[in-house]
Structure formats: structure tokens, C-alpha cells
Amino acid sequence: MNNTTRYARQQMIPEYQDLDKKLEQHRIAIVGSGGLGGLCTYLLVGAGALNINIADYDTIDETNLHRQILYREKDIGETKINCCKRELIELDKRANIKTFAEKITEENFQEFTKDCRLVLDLSDNIETRLALNRLCFANRIDLIHASVTAETALLAYFKFSDSKFIEEYGCYECLAGENAAIAKKGITGPFASAVSAFAANLTMQVFTDRIKEKIGKIFLFDLNRFSIRSFSLNKSPLCKCCGDTKEVA
């Protein structure tokens, strides 16, 4: 298949003329292949991000099907990453997908992010989110955080590869606190999918240097009001992850 044909419509957007080539030059590490991760990864592979590492240790069950659109009834009982990989390769057989059927920790983080400059946190719990923030910060790897619940979602880009960014804007833990606790809440397919798409868009903007207005901000999506608000991030010198009193990693 001719790539000029494949990406023709995307390339008609001047800023995205070489998006597929830029995406293909990189490897992206994605945590979670559920309501956010599945569709986001699918959209990114579709746009030309052919080199992807995905981590998820869940298996598909019936309660996933209302929102995790890569999976079907016949997939129940299978691992999410195997099904996800299968769908991605059906979309583009050139896709080079490495799967990690395990929790991402200090032990496997290096391997998971080998050759990656960006991690997408599309997981589904606060413990993983705090841990990924610390790991990305400690290794100075850029992090996109996307999280969603019933009618609220958060999206932010933490440019940990840039020391000036850290000095000014800090990290996710500055905002959430090291003891952040969030109970499992309701979630719908349409909103999880919408936020997946925004996370994929933000990734495309990162790789095409169209990120300037998004640096140092967290975006709050309010589905009830149909609004997206932004707040400036701020570093706390007291943060145990990125602050002046941080614990030795």
C-alpha cells in the first residue's frame, strides 16, 4: 500500500503533512489498553505511530464491553494486550507492537520505555498514576496523563525531559498529593472514547511541535457543561517527587 494514499487526508492538514513520518520515527510507551488506552493506541497506529509498547495485565470481561471498543464478546477471558495487538496489526500489518502483560514498576520501567521519549498514562487507578509520575520524573521521560470518570476528565502533558518545565510546573504529584485516593467511579463509552481521542491528539501535537499552548497546563473536561477549562500547573518545593525535599529515588 502506498503511504501517500494511506495518509492522504491527514496530510491535507498543513501541520500534519509529515505527521505519519514523525510518528513512525519514534516509539511510544502506553500504559493501559482499556477504555482510554485501547482506542487511543488504535488512533495513534492509524495516524502512523507504528512502534508502540503497551502494558496491561487485565483480561477482558463483560463489564468492559460498553466502553472498550476494541473488544468483542468473543474476546471475553482473553488478555487485553493480546486482543489489542491483534486489532492494531489488523489495522496496519507494519505495526511493531511490544506487549508487557505486567504491572509497570521500577524493575521493568527501563525495558518498557527503551527507545521511548513519551509515556502515555491511560491506566485506571490512582496508585498506577502516582507510580508512573514518579518513574517518568526519575527517568526524565515525558508523560501524558489522561484520566476520566463519569462526566469529568483530566489531561496534561508533563515535559520531564525539560528541567525548566520541572522547575516551573512540577509534576502530577504536586497537584494530586502523594496520598491522593480516588474510588472507582462510573464511566461511559462515549466519554472515555472522547478523552482517548484527545489524548491521541495531544500525542500528535507533541510529535509535531504544536504543543506550546498546552505546556504547563492541566485541562479539565466537564461533560455536563460541555466545557474544557485549563489551569496552570505549579511546582511545590515540598513535593516528595519533584520538590527540593524529594526522597532519593
Partner: protein, 66 residues
């Protein structure tokens, strides 16, 4: 003094820290984030951050799902 809290003008006492404000509202601080005048106030700074007349305070729930 008057402040704007989540879109509504309310009356609060003077010399109120963000931490005390959250406590008085009986909010569970572990589950929320706060911004003043559209700038996130890191959680560790809440105790030493004092609200002033006319400030806009936004408090929203953190979310973690996916």
C-alpha cells in the same frame, strides 16, 4: 470577604487558608485538586496559601479512571 468559589460568590472569613477553606467545606482533600485564579495550588502549599478578597477558587475532583 467575598471570594468566587466554583462559579458562585460567597462570603468567607478573613485570613482563611486554602487548607482551612477545604476543611470547612468538609471536602476530602485526598480526592480533590484546587486552583486559585486559574493557577493550580499544589496540595502541599494549601496550609500556607491565604485567600484574599475577590479571588476565584476552583476545586474539582481528581479522576483516575480509564
Amino acid at each position: 470577604m467575598k471570594i468566587n468559589y466554583n462559579g458562585t460568590t460567597i462570603e468567607v472569613k478573613d485570613n482563611l487558608s486554602l487548607h482551612s477553606f477545604v476543611t470547612e467545606l468538609q471536602l476530602e482533600s485526598r480526592t480533590i485538586a484546587a486552583a486559585v485564579n486559574e493557577e493550580i495550588v499544589p496540595k502541599k502549599n494549601w496550609e500556607n496559601f491565604f485567600l484574599q478578597e475577590g479571588m476565584t477558587v476552583d476545586i474539582f475532583n481528581l479522576v483516575a479512571g480509564g
